[in-house]
Each structure stands twice: as structure tokens, then as C-alpha cells.
């Protein structure tokens, strides 16, 4: 196994990141408005690329609330990556969880989903959590 796991605790401005190479699973949870979003997201994008290259599959679970503009861009980069992997026959999927109380998050996830042909589920939760 050449890819390492990523484990980053949430801060006030960055989401918690949990990237499990063994399971081929990436989890992001929280608000995202990092000061330097390129620096924050670059390792995550890179991990995803390598995970797809080595496993031929990745599943992404999102529990995201607020995203600033550059985080929106980073998420679109991630989805573009998943889309091209999907076009190349890799098995990729996104589950976007949202709190039932906050339908706006679901509407935003719907916007992201628009150009994606891979499996992209938007799932309501009665209480925020896994």
C-alpha cells in the first residue's frame, strides 16, 4: 500500500477529513472556508487520484455545511476528477448527507450533482451525524 491515510481534525474554518486508503473511502465533515483552500484541498485531490489509480474505485461521503467560493471550486475539481474516472470505467460514488432541518444544503448538493453522471446520492438525516 503506497498511499497513506489522511486524518485531519475539524477546525472552525476547515472540515474534518478522513481518508481511508484500505477502505477506499473519503469523508469530509463540517464547514469549509480555509484561508488557503488550495493548500488544504490539494492533498485530498491527490489522495483521491491515487486511490482511484490503485483501487480502481473510491467512495466519498460528505457532511458539508458552509462552503466558501474557493471550497466550491475545490469540490467541483474533485467531482470533475470523479467524473473522468467514471468515464474510464472506475467505480466512484458520492453520498452527500444533509440535516433534514436544512433543506438548503440539499438544494446546493443538487446543484453540484447537475453535471455528474456517476452515482451521486443526496441523503436526508434526522440528526446530523453518521
Amino acid at each position: 500500500m503506497t498511499i497513506t491515510n489522511i486524518e485531519i481534525a475539524a477546525t472552525q474554518s476547515t472540515p474534518a477529513i478522513h481518508a481511508d486508503s484500505q477502505a477506499g473511502r473519503l469523508v469530509m465533515r463540517g464547514d469549509s472556508y480555509p484561508e488557503n483552500s488550495f493548500a488544504f484541498f490539494a492533498p485530498i485531490i491527490e489522495w483521491t487520484e491515487r486511490c482511484i489509480a490503485e483501487h480502481g474505485a473510491v467512495s466519498v461521503d460528505l457532511y458539508l455545511l458552509y462552503l466558501n467560493t474557493s471550497s466550491v471550486k475545490a469540490m467541483m475539481d474533485l467531482f470533475d476528477l470523479l467524473e473522468s474516472a467514471h468515464q474510464n470505467g472506475r467505480k466512484v460514488g458520492v453520498n452527500w448527507y444533509y440535516d433534514q432541518q436544512n433543506v438548503r444544503v440539499a438544494e446546493l448538493a443538487e446543484e453540484f450533482k447537475e453535471d455528474c453522471n456517476f452515482t451521486f446520492e443526496i441523503i436526508a438525516e434526522t440528526a446530523a451525524g453518521e
Binding site: Y66, L67, N68, T69, V72, K73, M76, R104, V105, E107, L108, E111, F112, E114, D115
Partner: protein
């Protein structure tokens, strides 16, 4: 074009016939014709290269255009989603502000917002302002008889009735249990007493249906006017309204009592001095 082809055919026929082969004119024509053919071939080649080049440019242009349109679309999408996130955040902030400054039961401003408004009224200093503290008489009986849920419903209806009696720039806050504080930012004391009395009468005449039974409720009101000479802060005027409310309760409830005015104090003092 047809003429050119005809001329070419004619020349080729002449050259092929090989008549007058030794004539210097024949040799000159032959050379000229060969040169003409070379040049035509060169032009055709150049045109072919040029066409290919143009086709390649066109193709590249198309690819670039498509890419730029895609980028444009992507940027628009980022902006659209980002705008919506900001909108969401703004609403959240607004909701938070509302819940921090309003009473969740009645939707009226809470103490905090009322104190802010009072401070603002005190800072304006160009107009008199007055306020009234009012308390629903024997409200405990409603809670005891029907339970707190019904009591809360009645409070909500009272709040709506009070609000309907005020102008949009007047403030009516829930001050505590069944206590409300009303602020008239531009009324002097005597006008405020009139309005308060009108509200008291409206209240006494409005029946509330509680579990199928019509009941009337009364209120006691204490009114106070801003005194720029003595009021240090909003607590002072509220204290005077509270005293007046206490007096109204003591005097038998269902009445409006105004604080003692500065003139009353002066008259008292003069009387004592005499």
C-alpha cells in the same frame, strides 16, 4: 476558365503535331508552356497547403472555443453555488439575530431588544418618549385553571392584540411572564397615558375564547415619560413605570396610572414649603 482550357488544348495540339518543330517560335512556345504547367502545379500545391493550414486553425479555434465555453460555464456554476451559500449564511445570521432579540412564544421583541431601543430613544434627545409597563391581571388563574399550554396561547393572543393597537414604529416587548413593555418613541407622557388607557379599554372589551368559554381579561398599566434632567439610563424610567404599575395593582387593577410627574413633585414641595 473555359477559354483558358480551350487555349491549353489548342497549344497542346499544336505542340503534339510537331509541325514546324525547327521553328524558333515552336521552341519558345514549348518552353513557355512547360513553365506555365510548372507554375500551375506549384499554385495548386500552395493552395492545398494553405487550405490544410486553415482547416487546422479552424479546428484549433473550435477546440479553444469549446474549452473557453466550458470554463465560462464552470465559473458561472461556481459563482451561482457560492452565491447561494452566502445567501444561506445571511439567512442563518438573520435567524440568529431574530432569535437572540425576540421572544419565541409571542414573536415580540425581548428585553434585550427593548433595552437597545430604549437606549436609542434616549440618545435621540430631540423628542420626548414614553413607555408603559403592563401586566395581565390574575393571569395565574388562567394557568392554574387551564394549564400552561392554554396560558401560552392566551399570552400569544394578548401580544397580538397589543401589537394591533400600536403604530409600526412603537415597540412592544414581552418583558417577563405576563408583563409587557411598550415604548412610544415620540409621545410625551400625556399622550402616552391616553393611548395606554385606550389599550386598557380595548383589552377589557375583547372577549377571549378559552376552551369554548368567553372570558375577558383586564390589564393594569403604569406609564412613565422620559425626563432628560433626571434619567441617567433606561433603568430609571422603567423603574418609574414599574412603581406606577404597582400603584395600579394596589388601587384594584384594571386601570392606567401614570408616574408622578416632575410638576407634581414640584407642587408637593411648594405645598410643604408653604
Amino acid at each position: 476558365m473555359r477559354n483558358a482550357a480551350k487555349l491549353e488544348a489548342q497549344i497542346r495540339a499544336l505542340l503534339d503535331s510537331e509541325q514546324r518543330r525547327d521553328d524558333p517560335l515552336y521552341l519558345a512556345l514549348e518552353q513557355l508552356y512547360r513553365r506555365y504547367c510548372d507554375q500551375r502545379e506549384q499554385i495548386e500545391r500552395l493552395s492545398w497547403i494553405s487550405d490544410r493550414y486553415q482547416a487546422a486553425m479552424l479546428q484549433e479555434n473550435r477546440v479553444l472555443n469549446a474549452r473557453s465555453e466550458q470554463q465560462q460555464r464552470r465559473l458561472q456554476k461556481i459563482a451561482r453555488i457560492s452565491d447561494r451559500y452566502q445567501e444561506m449564511q445571511r439567512e442563518l445570521t438573520r435567524d440568529l439575530r431574530t432569535s437572540a432579540t425576540h421572544d419565541p412564544l409571542t414573536g415580540l421583541p425581548n428585553r434585550r431588544l427593548m433595552l437597545e431601543q430604549l437606549q436609542a430613544a434616549g440618545q435621540r434627545r430631540d423628542t420626548d418618549f414614553s413607555l408603559a409597563l403592563l401586566d395581565v391581571d390574575h393571569f395565574k388563574q388562567i394557568n392554574d385553571a387551564y394549564g400552561h399550554d392554554i396560558g401560552d396561547q392566551v399570552l400569544t393572543r394578548i401580544a397580538a392584540l397589543l401589537r394591533s393597537q400600536l403604530r409600526s414604529h412603537d415597540v412592544c416587548a414581552r418583558w417577563g411572564g405576563e408583563e409587557f413593555l411598550m415604548l412610544w418613541p415620540d409621545l410625551e407622557l400625556s399622550r402616552a397615558i391616553e393611548v395606554a388607557e385606550r389599550i386598557r379599554l380595548t383589552m377589557a372589551r375583547t372577549p377571549f375564547e378559552i376552551q369554548g368559554v368567553q372570558r375577558t381579561l383586564t390589564i393594569s398599566i403604569g406609564v412613565a415619560g422620559y425626563r432628560p434632567d433626571v434619567d441617567q439610563d433606561s433603568a430609571d424610567i422603567i423603574k418609574r413605570a414599574d412603581f406606577a404599575l404597582y400603584a395600579a395593582k394596589r388601587a384594584g387593577r384594571n386601570r392606567t396610572i401614570a408616574e408622578r410627574s416632575a410638576d407634581d413633585d414640584l407642587a408637593d414641595r411648594e405645598r410643604t414649603e408653604i
